[in-house]
């Protein structure tokens, strides 16, 4: 690329253009090299974070397009008609091919163009100033390399999107396959737990309780895996529900599963309004948040919760008195498959990928609400879930 840029500058000067124009070309080309190089490094560093990779590639594409616009504008001033004639087949080639192949096609087109001009000169006997040809022939390949880079960026975006879709489809498939036997186990445990035909001895009952808790954990992990898919909540089916009743039900269920019913403290609710939400998904959000509150606090410490409302919003507050989280930990909790989480798992130092709060946050956003975490070392964590209050005529609203 630098060689082409050098040749381009030389030929520009040869063709009678001034030094300022040549320097402008040089700056554009070297700038393009540096910017594209930096983007390539950033994309590489982003590793598994497909969303960041995609954003970077989009930014790179935008810059490339802007630069291509500047170059074309500057070139148009020199030899507009030749540019159009010469560029036409090569732009077409760039749309079909990409990268260095465009340079090859550009060179072939150039050679054909020169042959045609020379043949025309031979046939007509007219004399043509051949130095005018050097600009399109030697400088344009540099421009088309830029064009090739643009095509490469486009292709990169397509690859990332295809990878993202394949990855999510794979996760969904795995999660669905895992959900089926997990539900069967839930059913069997429930049947054992509620069996009226045989009296269970205390030890067997204890095993059943343990089995039930582990199976619930596994089911929630599978649900979180499913709910963490990016396009999962584009079409939410909302139904009218009493949030306070749902919160009470989930709080009791999770406290019972963690054997911490005595630690659960309900603040008086004064809420009367209904919200329009997906009860299945909101149930998962509440299960994740309550489970974290019990998991990261000591038995005997209170887990408090309250449901409040103001004129626009309904709010659920869940507070534990555990060890709390730093700002950095909170940020990681709200990311999907963090590098830290993956590295931790590879090192055998982590208990999960931390998908629960990420999925919860995604679900709240899809409802037009939010999930906030307030936490500090040794002061515990408060999670605040907010949902908009909606009018009855909004109940058919979906996010599609």
């Amino acid at each position: 690329m630098l060689l082409v840029a050098g040749v381009a500058i030389g030929t520009t000067l040869l063709a009678g253009n001034n030094m300022t124009t040549a320097l402008l070309y040089l700056c554009i080309l070297i700038g393009g090299l540096i910017i594209n190089g930096l983007f390539a490094v950033f994309v590489h560093v982003a590793e598994t974070q497909l969303r960041t990779q995609r954003l970077l590639t989009f930014a790179q594409l935008t810059l490339d397009l802007a630069m291509a616009g500047v170059v074309t504008f500057v070139m148009g001033g020199i030899e507009a008609r030749t540019t159009i004639l010469f560029a036409f087949p090569i732009v077409a080639a760039a749309l079909i091919f990409h990268g260095s192949l465009v340079l090859l096609v550009a060179s072939l087109c150039g050679a054909t163009y020169v042959t045609a001009v020379l043949f025309g000169q031979y046939v007509s006997g007219q004399s043509i100033d051949l130095t005018l040809l050097t600009v399109p022939l030697l400088f344009y390949p540099a421009v088309f390399l830029l064009l090739g880079q643009i095509m490469k960026s486009l292709e990169h975006i397509e690859i990332i999107e295809a990878r993202e879709k394949a990855y999510d489809a794979f996760l969904s498939l795995i999660a669905h396959q895992l959900k089926h036997p997990a539900s069967a186990v839930t059913t069997i445990i429930d049947a054992m737990d509620h069996s009226k035909s045989t009296a269970l001895d205390p030890e067997t009952r204890q095993y059943i309780t343990m089995l039930k808790a582990e199976n619930e954990n596994q089911t929630r992990l599978i649900d979180n895996l499913l709910e963490a898919a990016p396009h999962r909540h584009e079409e939410l089916h909302l139904e009218a529900l009493r949030l306070d009743e749902l919160v009470d039900k989930i709080a009791q269920k999770v406290a019972s599963a963690n054997e911490r019913l005595d630690d659960l403290k309900k603040m008086p609710h004064s809420i009367q309004s209904e919200v329009y939400a997906s009860s299945i998904r909101l149930g998962l959000v509440l299960t994740n948040v309550f489970d974290n509150a019990f998991r990261y606090s000591h038995p005997g410490d209170d887990v408090q919760y309250a449901v409040e409302e103001d004129s626009d919003m309904v709010k659920v507050l869940i507070r534990d008195s555990g060890k709390g989280m730093s700002e950095e930990q909170i940020a990681h909790q709200l990311e999907r498959f963090t590098n830290e989480g993956i590295r931790g798992m590879e090192d055998g130092h982590v208990g999960g990928l931390g998908l629960g709060l990420f999925a919860a946050s995604q679900i709240m956003h899809a409802h037009g609400g939010q999930l906030h975490i307030h936490s500090g070392s040794e002061v515990g964590t408060t999670v605040i879930l907010t949902l908009p209050k909606e009018q009855a005529d909004d109940k058919t609203r979906t996010n599609d």
Partner: protein
Amino acid sequence: MTKRVLMIEDFPVMQKFYKNALEQEGYQLDVADDGEVALRMVAETDYDVILLDMLLPNVNGIEFLERFSSRPPQTKIIVLSDFTDESRIKRARELGVSDYLVKSDYPPSELVKKLNELDGVSATTDDAKGQS
């Protein structure tokens, strides 16, 4: 009066345990392995409640709902499935499903509670209508 329930479910483990739990509570439960068989059964019998799985051989849950168009007004259709895709929930609701339940949240004991609750709710609603 004994409530007649049809469970459309192809997984034998689910059939067995839900059947036990519901029959212990006094429900009369019939089971269909797939949507095709279920369509024949609903043509012959008026059920009070239909418990419908979504993933079924031959005729799946959504296809069953589409083809079971002339249903008696008292028949409540409740989906009991592992699938929680919003598009599926939305379509099922459009086709007249009254509740969409997730199997892991509604094992037999919870489903029995839900059905008893629905009975209570409908009785109250009927009473209220009668008074107005």
